[in-house]
């Protein structure tokens, strides 16, 4: 057993876990944050994407102990029903989800994508390429791509307005 401490969605949490505990198990089973999903166990599908120290990570492919001392953000940490993150809002506005199972990973990947490229700097080809690590079986990606592009452009507008 190892003691793991991290800042999870802004709150410092710690627990004693088996060494082999995956980060996704820590998030879901230890902390009860079930918004992060497990779709494949082999780091292909991306339903488990969270942010660790500001970078998108597949939490099924990282041990909880590796996140010791890190700042971890899950889907629950980026916005709420009353105060949606622009990417969350865009997924709803553009029907970028159906069953909702891949959605947490899609949104967390999209936020990371916009962070890395800069808001307003994403085109369809780039978005499609960047989504290679996230599988959706429902939407055919069409509306996910639209949602991410719209969110990216909207966030650019917001940034400009703030200046």
């Amino acid at each position: 057993m190892s003691k793991v401490s991290m800042v999870l969605n802004g709150k410092t949490v710690s627990a004693d876990v088996e060494d082999r505990t995956l980060l996704v198990s820590f998030i879901r089973d230890v902390r009860g944050l079930t918004g992060t999903h497990v779709g494949c166990d082999t780091s292909q599908c991306g339903a488990c994407v969270v942010h660790v120290d500001g970078k998108a990570v597949k939490s099924c492919s990282m041990l909880a102990v590796q996140a010791d001392g890190a700042e971890v953000v899950t889907l629950e940490g980026i916005g709420t029903a009353d105060s949606l993150h622009p990417v969350q809002a865009a997924f709803r506005e553009h029907h970028g989800l159906q069953c909702g199972f891949c959605t947490p990973g899609m949104i967390m990947t999209a936020v990371d994508m916009i962070n890395r490229y800069g808001a307003g700097n994403l085109d369809e080809t780039t978005i499609r390429h960047e989504l290679e690590g996230n599988i959706c079986r429902c939407t055919g990606y069409h509306n996910i791509v639209k949602a991410i592009k719209a969110a990216s452009d909207q966030m650019a507008g917001m940034a400009q307005a703030a200046e």
Binding site: E18, G35, L131, R137
Partner: protein, 786 residues
């Protein structure tokens, strides 16, 4: 929120919980004291189970029990069943082999469960499952369906001699043979429909609890049809009587058919929860899903199309061998028969059709309905041979199809179906226009200048949805009726709960069903809640599959709404001292026509519940239920056009344009319909280019993870161009046909027809891997040079 009625692009009510991480899927559920299950699975495709030694596993930390098939059978748990009886052409019933949820004697596919471990944690359960020692005696296995039918092939079930499940036929063989005798041209093709794995992103899961004091079970499960699950678990598997079993399918992360069936694992979790005395949760990992979720398709067919001298179709002759895997899954028998061969007439006036279908056991995962279920196989066969025939006789594929379209309705095909309405010219025209079909030659030349091979392919599909008229399917062998039920509960303050037997696992029923009520009563959609997926709340229902939730599920709601409206009008007329016939419902109010007298919907609802002043003899309350049994199938149809570029150096295909023109009848929410088509097309492109369940000769599934089975990713597909044309369905009150499967049905032949156009070889099979495309193209180039 607002009044968002039929036709509004209403944003989804359910989305907020999904985009904020508050969805409630089965794996998110817990019960106090719950343990975790892990299954011990066969590594062999065919083997005798000679012994199971659980002693080491039982010593491991956290382990409660290791349960085996002998105990399951000893407790009287029944075999898994196939619920649709098919008779062979000689009149004999299909040959159903015994299927136990935990197999005590002979395993018949890799991944079949022989034991289950229950432990405190999932990791402990999985560790202990690895420590269970099973003594197997390997038996010869047969994987290929054609090989399984050969004499001397390994025998899989004692009930099915020669591994033949049934030898079935449809249509008039003599008339079809006569049509071929007078044909001016016959096109012949061998057409395979590759085996697929459905791959809903949420793996199957179950959480079962047993209350000993009440002798009552609760099951959370990933089901498209929780009531059917309860029925089968009760009536056939003897788990518990229906009143002692509550089945809840909460948020379900996609189904595509694979979550219709009642699998061994859910049943074992229920049984184990009582045996072990604690709730039991099981969550499939992805490889378990590949090995045990019912697969789809897997047909080998020979098709012949007879044309007269004017290129009108005279007849179609089809022989199909369908691989059903190691066991007959719940609806497996109906897929390659009544969901397949009845659609072989397509959009065409074909005077004579004969199809012979043999289904066969092999040592592979069971095969059942997957998005489209039989209809993709029919469409692929027909649209491949239509395109090929057009090329052979030198007609434009579009004009050849147009020449043979059905134009008068109702149209009785030679294979049972009676098409009620459609306008196939309209969707063909729309698709050709959107695809700029006439401008293709210039695009092909431009692509050639870049060294690329450009091709264009068509597919004019039809499907039968709205499944289905109960008496009709009963006469064809179905074990259940396929109606739907609904209950509309108006609360005393005028908000409404609609209980439906349909189940949403991504389709957006919480929104579209609310739009129907919003339209009817002029109420804000936020005043309407949709309740589904719980056998304790909804009395009964048949669930969601076969694109039936609109045409059948919403029709049941309409019937219940009719009754609610009639009663509300009676109450309003009584309160306003008016004639019932003069009451109009508009904008959330009940008005007396031609006067300024009115009551709000809320006032009428409250009056129904206070019951202080109701018409003489009227019962209090405002709640009505209805069952709706469809009068016919519905027939969505359309045309898809795919344009591809093939790189002759690598054989890689890029889909550069994809156009869909669909007729789904009336549409409740275009946004949701478009989403269904996007997803369906992508699954179809996946089948055509990328996906294939591959077994080696020993029955090992080589594609049992996302590292080996190629799911379509975002950069494998383009954005799509969609349009709809409406011919209302005359068979149901809303005029709906259904849209859930069309994309997956119509797209594979369009893609393959485009590639065969590009490379000049009609023999290409799915999936069109770069290697296969490259080899065919270069073989053709070489042959032309010789």
């Amino acid at each position: 929120m607002a009044v968002e009625g039929i036709g509004a692009r209403a944003l989804r009510k359910e989305d907020k919980r999904f985009i904020t991480g508050k969805g409630r899927y089965t794996d998110d559920m817990t019960m106090p004291g719950m343990g975790h299950a892990a299954f011990v699975r066969s590594p062999h495709a065919h083997a005798k189970v000679k012994g199971i030694d659980a002693s080491a596993a039982l010593e491991m930390p956290g382990v409660d029990a290791v349960l085996t098939g002998d105990q399951l059978v000893g407790d009287g748990i029944g075999n898994l069943i196939c619920g649709w009886m098919i008779h062979s052409k000689d009149g004999s019933p299909m040959k159903m082999g015994g299927w136990r949820a935990l197999e005590p004697e002979i395993v018949r596919h890799v991944g079949q469960a022989v034991a289950v471990v229950v432990a405190d944690t999932q990791a402990q359960a999985r560790d202990a499952a690895d420590a269970v020692i099973v003594d197997y005696e390997e038996l010869p296995a047969v994987i290929d369906p054609l090989a399984a039918l050969e004499s001397g092939a390994p025998q899989i079930h004692p009930e099915a001699e020669g591994n033949l499940i049934y030898d079935w036929e449809i249509g008039d063989e003599a008339a079809t043979n006569a049509a071929f005798e007078k044909a001016a041209h016959v096109t012949r093709m061998e057409i395979h429909n590759n085996r697929l794995v459905p791959n809903a992103m949420e793996p199957r899961a179950a959480l079962a609890g047993y209350d000993a004091a009440e002798e009552h079970y609760t099951l959370y499960t990933t089901s498209q049809n929780p009531h059917v699950a309860r029925l089968v678990l009760s009536a056939f598997y003897n788990v518990a009587p229906e009143n002692k079993l509550r089945v809840i399918a909460p948020d379900v992360g996609g189904g595509f058919g694979s979550k219709i069936y009642i699998y061994p694992e859910e049943m074992v979790c229920l049984w184990a929860s009582k045996r072990v005395g604690r709730p039991v949760k099981w969550v499939s990992d992805r490889t378990e899903a590949f090995l045990t979720d019912a697969h789809g398709r897997d047909h080998r067919s020979e098709a012949e199309l007879a044309l007269d001298a004017d290129n009108k179709i005279l007849g179609l002759r089809v022989k199909t061998i369908a691989n059903l895997g190691a066991y007959m899954s719940l609806f497996s028998s109906s897929v390659p028969t009544y969901l397949y061969a009845t659609l072989l007439s397509g959009q065409y006036d074909i005077p004579a059709i004969h199809a012979n279908v043999k289904t066969v056991y092999t040592n592979t995962t069971p095969v059942d309905a997957y998005r489209g279920a039989g209809r993709p196989e029919a469409t692929y066969l027909l649209e491949r041979i239509m395109e090929t025939a057009a090329r052979e006789v030198g007609l434009s594929p579009a004009e050849f199809r147009r020449k043979n379209f059905i134009r008068t309705f109702p149209h009785q095909t030679p294979v049972i179906m009676c098409y009620d309405a459609g306008d196939y010219d309209a969707t063909l025209d729309a698709a050709l226009k959107a695809a700029d079909y006439d401008g293709f030659a210039a695009r092909k030349a431009e692509a050639a200048s870049r060294g690329k091979l450009r091709g264009i392919g068509l597919s004019c599909y039809i499907e039968a949805c709205g499944i289905a008229p109960s008496a009709a399917v009963g006469s064809l062998g179905a074990g259940v009726g396929l109606w739907e039920s609904a209950e509309v509960r108006v609360n005393p303050v005028g908000s409404i709960e609609v209980l439906t037997g349909s189940h949403s696992h991504g389709q957006g029923h919480e929104t579209t069903f609310a739009q129907l009520i919003s339209e009817r009563f002029g109420l804000d959609t936020s005043a309407v809640s949709i309740v589904h997926g719980d056998t304790d709340k909804v009395q009964f229902g048949m669930g969601t599959y076969g694109s039936r939730s609109g045409a059948v599920g919403m029709s049941a709601i309409v019937k219940a709404l009719d009754k609610v409206e009639a009663k509300a009008k009676k109450i309003a007329a009584h309160l306003m001292e008016a004639s019932e016939g003069d009451i109009q419902i508009e904008g959330g109010e009940l008005k007396v026509a031609g006067t300024d007298k009115k009551l709000t919907f809320t006032e009428v609802a409250l009056a129904a519940y206070t019951a202080h002043n109701l018409p003489e003899g009227m019962e209090p309350g405002l709640k009505e239920g209805a069952f709706y049994d469809p009068t016919n199938f519905t027939f969505p149809a359309g045309t898809y056009v795919c344009e591809v570029e093939v790189d002759p150096d690598t054989g890689k295909t890029e889909v550069v344009n994809f156009v869909a023109a669909d007729d789904f009848g009336n549409i409740i929410n275009p946004m949701i319909v478009e989403g269904q088509v996007h997803g369906g097309i992508t699954q179809g492109i996946g089948q055509a280019l990328l996906e294939n369940a591959s077994y080696d000769e020993n029955g090992q599934l080589l594609t049992a993870s996302y590292m080996d089975y190629c799911m379509p990713r975002a950069d494998d597909v383009p954005s799509y161009s969609l349009s709809t044309h409406v011919t209302a369905c005359p068979g149901n009150p809303l005029g709906m046909k259904g849209c859930g499967e069309a994309g997956a049905i119509g797209s594979p032949p369009a893609v393959i027809n485009a590639i065969t156009d590009a490379i000049g070889d009609n023999s290409l099979s799915m999936p069109a891997s770069p290697e296969k495309v490259w080899a065919l193209y270069h073989a053709g180039v070489k042959q032309a040079a010789e």
